[in-house]
Assembly symmetry: C2
Homo-oligomer: 385 residues x 2
């Protein structure tokens, strides 16, 4: 059994990319990847592709989408979809193929054209008719989670806003982020109400984007770079309000199950994690995820962010890239871009958002599906040791 | 490295399942699988799920769909989509995970609710706006392929109709088929024109359905059955009219590339194949696929079927289950059901459609995407030897 290593990444500037087609964004990420690999990679080196897209714009179904943009027609290309965990699950599946020896060199490419969604598919795809028919949207769901956390643990509105403040500050330093502006706690609190207590600056924007990474087996990784980063563990789990586990509404059992799987496989504990890119679709989501990933105890997420521990210079920096709140959340691209950022961080190449000498990094997504806001979660652990 | 073996299958009666929800069909296939495994399987044995659905009805995105219907919430569930090759690519990915040791026991479940498609998504998802805007539908595309094959190789209308006659005859003997009626060449020729030369009986119906199979590693397979069937090879490739390869319009280069990959991995040639389940979305598709899979030479598909060689008692029986033409084509379920049928055939348990002592079986899908009718193809080889 070989281990899968990340050996390159190709990121594009996320944003409202009205001037680019869906295929354009895939091509751009692919070319950025080819350009990024230290010692070069030829298209013929790539013997498998895992492609993540939720196909929000209705143009991204099936692997041929990627073949059109890259020319990799004779290469197996599998499309993976898993709600907002689409990108990270594509990474997970490519990693498995490397381990199986079914690919020695695999590309993961994630892409989403969110701003072409004219049919409301984003909402329609995510939540059961049970909820949609009652006007329960995604911000409403996460708003309820926020008020529940505030009630249960004394988490304050200001602590929740601190997540947005931190991530927007990071985003101004991250070259590919969509919404690059700084804001204060007061700015967040004074931004327009979306669903109490969440305001506009507590919500990630609607963003187009694509990102590609290259994986290689242990045996082949050295052909591409002297500094490959091993994917040491992965986890994937689902959840539902129907189960009862999630009735507390304060945390995400799916994240806990996925993290348990990934940490166990990687042979690490939460204390070993030096940097994380987590799913901050809303500010409250990141705060709760601190607890679910074990960065602090139950109910302590608000204090953790208020104490600055998750800032770039804190004890456990979270979302140095600016997270979904600043960078944006093009669904299929999000998880791949998070892995790309952890790869850069562990190589010490993260530029203005570099954290201090990290060795272990975690990437995390949570996805909405059916009747639950934490219906699916995927966690990948990268380890340079 | 271990090999993946099929150790059980759960098939439901395909049809217009208006009385069942999408989840109902998944649950039914899952329960049928649990019931089918010779020596039993417990839900806790399943440590990974690959789920194939094109999500035509808009209720099947993400892995949580399967978790809801099965209760497998803490088990990783990946959704795979690859146009009409969705089911077979889900099998391919589950096989890879078994080989990697990431799952010792994996379920593949494919499902599609085609008759709930009120928005024309089936057509919209499949073809580029380039073609849709010109009125080019799927039957039109395959009709052009038929006339081209007739012109190039002297294939006759009657030979094409023989595919439908054979598959409908098989379907009357296959307990799960949707459209169970026999027809003659004259019946096919006299059925309503859809797109010349293809008539109604040359086209697969619109069908709901689900199917599950269980895979296990070589080490674990014996726990579930004394007669596991090894998946010996898989292939996946894409194609586009833009490439030029496909300009002849007579055959499917993607099938040839996928078959090359699968045969090479399995260490077989086309001559070794004893039985096949292939993608007969239209009668012409099966005829052309004989050539692409190497069951006969280029241009000889018409003669092969006219000579009866692909009948149950022929030299290379194709679509003993009745194929898509009779059984139906619920996209995500189709490839999984084909593998289930090959599994039954190689175990000698295929009942009234059993062929004579087969040892090697091939499963094949082709999918439409973007601008091509053969945009993606997936081939799996099963070998009992």
């Amino acid at each position: 059994m070989t281990d899968a290593h990340v050996v390159g990444s190709g990121m594009i500037h996320f944003g409202e990319l009205k001037e680019k087609s869906f295929d354009d964004t895939i091509e751009e990420a692919y070319l950025a990847l080819l350009d990024d690999v230290d010692d070069g990679v030829a298209p013929a080196d790539i013997d498998g592709v895992w492609y993540g897209s939720a196909d929000i714009a209705g143009e991204g179904s099936s692997g041929v989408t990627v073949a059109h943009a890259t020319g990799l027609f004779e290469t197996p290309i599998t499309r993976v979809e898993n709600a907002c965990a689409t990108g990270s699950d594509a990474v997970r599946n490519a990693r498995i193929a490397i381990e199986a020896g079914q690919a020695d060199v695999a590309m993961v490419i994630g892409a989403e054209k969110m701003t072409d969604d004219t049919g409301g598919l984003i909402a329609a795809a995510a939540l059961d008719r049970l909820w949609r028919g009652r006007g329960v949207t995604m911000p409403a769901f996460f708003g309820m989670r926020a008020t529940r956390h505030m009630d249960q643990y004394g988490t304050t509105r200001e602590q929740i806003a601190e997540v947005s403040v931190k991530n927007h500050e990071n985003g101004t330093k991250y070259p590919y982020a969509h919404q690059q502006f700084e804001c204060t706690v007061e700015d967040v609190k004074n931004s327009p109400t979306v669903s109490y207590p969440l305001n506009l600056y507590d919500c990630c924007p609607v963003t187009d984007g694509a990102c590609a990474i290259l994986l290689a087996s242990e045996e082949r990784a050295g052909e591409f770079t002297d500094d490959p980063i091993r994917i040491a563990g992965s986890g994937l789990a689902t959840d539902s309000f129907m189960r009862g586990d999630d009735l507390a509404l304060t945390n995400f059992p799916a994240t806990r199950h996925a993290a348990d799987q990934a940490y166990e496989e990687a042979g690490i504990g939460a204390d070993d994690v030096d940097v994380a890119e987590v799913h901050d679709c809303f500010s409250i989501t990141e705060l709760v995820t601190y607890e679910d990933l074990g960065f602090c105890g139950q109910g302590e997420g608000g204090q953790l962010v208020a104490d600055g521990e998750t800032r770039l210079d804190g004890s456990i920096p979270v979302n140095p890239s600016g997270g979904l709140l600043s960078k944006g959340h093009p669904i299929g691209a999000t998880g791949v871009a998070q892995v790309a950022e952890i790869y850069e961080q562990l190589r010490g190449e993260a530029g203005d958002v570099q954290v201090d000498d990290p060795e272990v990094g975690v990437q995390h997504n949570i996805g909405i599906g059916r009747n639950a806001t934490g219906a699916v979660s995927c966690v990948n652990v990268l380890d340079r040791r």
